[in-house]
């Protein structure tokens, strides 16, 4: 090879790199054998605390839900696990069918008519919903009204994602404004209103009449939802939402030290051409047999170029598959049971914590699996105590995002918290 390209030695290939940085002395420890390297890495990994090591009451957007073994058993099949953009219908019927089923179940869960093949996470799905709404108004409306109780990181991503589009994003500068007052900010320039339920504080928002109020001003209603809650709660689609998005991480994906996640996006057929992302449809081949193909691709960027609603075609194929397996394995009844367990356990925890001197629960809205507790001391101090003394991962410090919620903790209880863990938390908070 060297002779073929006319070079004397490998070193000669690097002659363009300045000599003093060409072959630096790296000051590395002596080389380890594979076995020794493994011991060292295991020792390093042992310093991590995982959510499997003790009770965890932290949520705020990423949730510890049970992942049945069947999810990994299917997910790790080579046909699914190794493929990259496997969309050619001639060779990818399995993947396409899985995505189609994922879309179908997301529609059933959200009460919507069409779902795309997924986005990166709940935040990017929310941003894509905004862009869809702007496009549904042919770019003539550039104002977005967002509730302050939409996940703070989602709101930040919406702003980052849409910078340069000339949008005005309002509503959340008042960190306490409730939906009925927020609607008054929707006007003839507004493309959409974004609400979240259960909201970032865990409260179930009253969506009744909201869509009508938003539609009366010609805008769209975008609802961010927790898919686990939809096993129990009336879906946003039934309340007239135009786009329902959220993070599908709770659907059999696990926490995995923070990712990958899954953004789901569902809308009405009326807006399907404004929808970002891939879409799999069911069809019939020349022999009349059922088959699956990517459909409505002409709205995507490789065909519509700069006129496409979104320049994102990427989906979280494998993670969407995990969600599809999870939803199929649990079924309607299983999804409801998980949601009920979360609901009842969270309510038990809230009642017990309310009895502790110095702690009080905040808000009178119904809640799902998260609730706000006012603490007698800074949240960080309480969390440090819980972790060091009891090995408990405490709640989220709401003072980080809401100035009026200093010393307020957002606690999350799921089906993964047995009663003993909740009692342990209550005792620890009492002694703290």
């Amino acid at each position: 090879m060297l002779a073929a390209v006319g070079v004397r030695s490998i070193e000669a290939l690097f002659e363009d790199v300045p000599a003093r940085v060409r072959f630096p002395d790296l000051d590395l420890p002596p080389a380890l054998s594979e076995m020794e390297a493994r011991w060292e890495l295991e020792e390093l990994a042992g310093a991590n605390l995982t959510t499997a090591d003790g009770p965890c009451f932290l949520g705020a957007g990423a949730y510890r839900h049970f992942v049945p073994a069947v999810v990994d058993a299917f997910l790790r099949r080579g046909e699914f696990y190794t493929a990259y953009t496997p969309y050619q219908p001639e060779i990818s019927q399995g993947t396409l069918q899985a995505i189609f089923e994922y879309q179908t179940m997301i529609c059933a869960l959200t009460g919507m008519e069409v779902s795309n093949a997924s986005h990166y996470d709940g935040a990017t799905a929310t941003a894509e919903a905004v862009i869809s709404a702007i496009n549904a108004h042919r770019l003539r409306r550039r104002k977005v009204v967002v509730s302050p109780f939409v996940h703070p990181e989602y709101r930040a991503v919406v702003r980052t994602y849409t910078q340069g589009m000339g949008l005005t994003i309002v509503g959340d500068e008042d960190s306490e404004v409730e939906l009925p007052d927020l609607v008054s900010q929707v006007d003839a320039e507004t493309a959409c209103l974004i609400a979240q339920t259960p909201n970032f504080l865990g409260q179930i928002e009253d969506l009744a009449g909201l869509a009508d109020a938003v539609h009366a001003r010609g805008a769209l209603l975008v609802v961010v939802a927790d898919p686990i809650s939809l096993g129990l709660l009336k879906p946003p689609g039934a309340f007239g939402a135009d786009v329902v998005v959220g993070d599908g991480q709770g659907l059999g994906v696990g926490l995995n030290f923070g990712g990958p996640s899954l953004g789901f996006f569902a809308t009405r057929m009326e807006y399907v051409r404004r929808m970002a992302g891939r879409l799999v449809g069911q069809t019939a081949d020349v022999e009349g047999q059922r088959g699956f193909v990517l459909t409505l691709s002409t709205r995507e960027q490789h065909i519509r170029r700069e006129k496409a609603t979104s320049n994102i075609c990427t989906n979280e194929g494998l993670v969407a598959l995990a969600a599809a397996i999870y939803m199929a394995a649990l079924g309607r009844c299983g999804m409801r049971q998980v949601a009920e367990l979360c609901y009842h356990k969270a309510h038990y925890a809230q009642e017990r914590i309310a009895e502790i001197n110095g702690f009080s629960v905040v808000g009178d809205k119904p809640f799902f699996k998260e609730f706000v507790v006012r603490c007698p001391r800074p949240v960080k101090e309480i969390n440090d105590y819980l972790l060091e003394e009891e090995g408990i991962i405490g709640g989220y410090d709401l003072g980080r995002d809401y100035s009026h919620l200093k010393d307020h903790m957002l606690l999350c209880v799921t089906e993964m918290n047995p009663r003993e863990e909740i009692d342990l938390l209550v005792e620890a908070l009492r002694e703290e």
């Binding site: 042919r138 051409r273 002409t298 709205r299 065909i303 519509r304 006129k307």
Partner: protein, 128 residues
């Protein structure tokens, strides 16, 4: 390639025809044939004011999605709503039932500097 005796043509393959004081527009027979089966047509809103060369909509076929350009400036007075559910009319009858928009021209003389049938035919032949 079919033409319409009264129509004039744009280089972007739209046709225009006078109807009283108004102008009716669609895409040419050559355009629909090149696009093949049309599955969706997106049209503007009545009352929109558009300049010559502005995008007034999108036509989407099984092969491609193409922008539609105003052959003359004007204010939209009607759109062909039947295309919403029957986009195939553009393939079947591009100069008739497949019309797309009707508008009040802001500069009626713009009609005269568009190609007539023979010129358009030559233009298409040249475009290859």
């Amino acid at each position: 390639m079919k033409l319409h005796p009264e129509a004039r043509y744009a280089k972007t393959h739209e046709w225009v025809r006078k109807d009283g004081d108004e102008i009716v527009t669609g895409i040419t027979d050559h355009a629909q044939e090149s696009l093949s089966d049309i599955v969706y047509v997106e049209l503007p809103e009545v009352g929109d004011s558009l300049e010559r060369g502005d995008t007034f909509g999108v036509v989407e076929s099984v092969k491609a999605a193409s922008d539609l350009y105003m052959p003359m400036g004007g204010e939209i007075s009607a759109v062909n709503e039947t295309l919403e559910n029957s986009p195939e009319l553009v393939n079947q009858d591009p100069y008739g039932k497949g019309w797309m928009i009707r508008f009040r021209p802001s500069a009626p003389p713009e009609f005269d500097d568009m190609m007539d049938g023979a010129a358009y035919e030559a233009f298409v032949a040249e475009e290859g």
